[in-house]
């Protein structure tokens, strides 16, 4: 057993169920995410991955089930409060603030979610250093509408980082990117993880999932069908069936 196993989990989801009318999108999902873990979340389309993320980040209210973040029940907290507690996310389809520049997009996060009371100059420095890490430094004063697809993905991650998260959820940040761009975003996520940020990564690109994740969970039709090391999960009969539809 490694040291991280003995610490209490960063995020503990227990018996989480989410229904939309008669349709059960998530059925009795329980999982612990350890501090500093790189966690991959996979599953076919419609299996409930984004629904689970929406329940964690607060876009959806959950009915039965609890979500504990750093030992605090966050199930009834509004999304912006969860963000301030340290849960940040990117969106499957990027949702930039279109009337703003890249820098202003990040300033929203720094104005509203940053914990410390810092001066405007410090915030500006912090914003520029995040943009530089993400390779967006030269684009700081460009309108968000003028970014390319990969730049938009990076800006979403940068904006999430500007909230100083403890848990970062990346929802298909690599979808629709070329293979070199996938590597670029993956390297970014790995460098964030090395700075003690716990990351949940939803992804369809298996190479990326295998390279990134310490642990992988596969959802199918709202249920967990496999959880474990990437190689174990890939070898699982049910995972292969879910993906290949046999």
């Amino acid at each position: 057993m490694t040291l991280s196993d003995t610490r209490s989990p960063l995020l503990r989801i227990s018996s989480l169920t989410k229904r939309f009318g008669g349709f059960t999108a998530l059925h009795d999902v329980s999982v612990d995410i350890r501090p500093g873990e790189r966690f991959g979340l996979i599953g076919p389309n419609g299996s409930g991955k984004t629904t689970l993320i929406n329940c964690i980040s607060g876009a959806f209210r959950t009915e039965p089930g609890t979500v504990l973040f750093r030992d605090e029940d966050i199930a009834l907290l509004q999304p912006h409060v969860r963000t301030r507690r340290g849960i940040a996310r990117s969106f499957q389809i990027p949702r930039p603030f279109r009337s703003m520049t890249v820098a202003e997009n990040l300033m929203v996060a720094l104005d509203f979610a940053a914990h410390e009371h810092v001066s405007a100059a410090q915030r500006r420095d912090s914003m520029m250093s995040i943009l530089d890490q993400m390779g967006l430094g030269p684009k700081a004063n460009v309108s968000a509408t003028q970014l390319s697809q990969v730049e938009l993905r990076k800006m979403e991650l940068a904006r999430a980082m500007a909230t100083h998260p403890k848990l970062l959820i990346s929802d298909e940040a690599m979808a629709g990117l070329s293979s070199s761009e996938v590597d670029e975003v993956l390297d970014l996520l790995l460098s964030l993880a090395s700075r003690d940020i716990t990351i949940i990564m939803i992804e369809h690109i298996m190479q990326a999932v295998m390279r990134f994740s310490e642990r992988v969970m596969c959802l199918d039709a709202g249920r967990i069908i496999a959880i474990g090391s990437p190689s174990e999960v890939m070898a699982d009969q049910r995972v292969q069936e879910a993906y290949l539809g046999t």
């Binding site: 607060g58 876009a59 999304p79 912006h80 949702r95 009337s99 929203v108 979610a113």
Partner: protein
């Protein structure tokens, strides 16, 4: 204080001094009658754009807030003979409460549903006032102006100056909001409400704040109108024209900057006054509609957007 703030406050002081000097020098009463209406619409448009422009929540309830301001003044005058400053303050307080209640009830609805709810609000309040005998009911009520105090020698001149003060107040608040974290949060939630929430913006609280401030200002602007007309009736006080005109002024001026509604209100307000005098008061409604259509098609970002675009083009040309 930044250089911009110094310029703004200098400009405001010069404006107020000019208005005051005008009340002392100009003998003809007409400029004050017409000017009062233009100032009233500048203040309304600026107040409207705090919620309608910055937050993007299109409020058709301007006439509800304006009318409540009028009737708050009517009630206070009839019941207690309250002086004008008290009428305005009470109007602001009631407007703030009304904004809070409207916000709580409707701001969870997004986009068009919010707008529909604000129209409903206007109708509900107008119906209530129409059936309230004490303030005149459907027939309306005459109001006696008190004697005017020095240094003014005419009540309308004083109202003109008071309305100018309200304009400066409204613009100062709107400008402060735009330049502060509140403005940034409102802009974020206008662009994308879910993304704003997930970036830490307390969207509901900010929308409520905008609704309260906007409502308080609109009611305060309505309060002196009772004394201006010396008469109030529900059909005029809650006339939907206030909502439409205010909205058109803000959109034509542009809502991306605090100065947009001022430009729109001056342009439209002056045109309307000219048309009312030269042709008829009905034509100005037609012109309002035409201008709105022209701007929606030709310059959806309003005059401010047009200016920014021209500037941007020039910059690109230089590169």
């Amino acid at each position: 204080m930044t250089r911009n703030s110094i310029a703004f406050w200098t400009g405001s002081t010069v404006f107020l001094v000019a208005v005051f000097v005008m009340t002392q020098v100009v003998g003809n009463q007409y400029p004050f009658f017409a000017g009062y209406v233009i100032l009233q619409f500048i203040a309304l448009a600026v107040a409207w754009s705090i919620l309608g422009g910055y937050a993007g929540y299109v409020n058709f309830g301007t006439s509800a807030f304006f009318g409540v301001g009028v009737y708050a003044a009517v009630f206070l005058v009839k019941a207690f003979g309250a002086p004008l400053p008290l009428q305005i303050l009470a109007g602001a307080a009631i407007g703030a409460l009304m904004g809070f209640a409207l916000g709580l009830l409707t701001l969870r609805m997004q986009g068009i549903f919010f707008s529909i709810a604000t129209i409903a609000l206007t109708i509900i309040i107008e119906t209530t006032i129409t059936n309230w005998r004490y303030v005149g009911g459907a027939a309306g009520i005459q109001i006696q102006r008190p004697a005017v105090t020095a240094p003014f020698d005419n009540y309308v001149q004083m109202l003109f100056f008071v309305q100018a003060l309200l304009v400066v107040l409204a613009v100062a608040i709107s400008r402060y909001i735009q330049n502060s974290w509140i403005g940034r949060g409102l802009q974020a939630l206008r662009d994308d409400e879910l993304a704003a929430e997930c970036t830490g913006v307390p969207t509901l609280r900010l929308k409520l704040l905008a609704c309260v401030i906007s409502g308080a200002l609109m009611c305060a602007v309505g309060a002196p109108a009772a004394m201006y007309l010396q008469y109030a009736d529900p059909a005029s006080a809650f006339n939907l024209n206030y909502s439409v005109t205010t909205l058109a002024m803000s959109l034509i001026g542009g809502t991306a900057h605090w100065s947009g509604p001022i430009i729109g209100a001056i342009l439209l307000g002056t045109t309307q006054q000219l048309l009312t005098v030269t042709i008829s008061s009905e034509v100005n409604v037609l012109v309002l509609g035409l201008m709105l259509v022209l701007f929606v098609v030709g310059a959806p970002e309003g005059i401010i957007g047009l200016i920014r675009k021209l500037r941007g083009d020039r910059k690109e040309g230089e590169v």
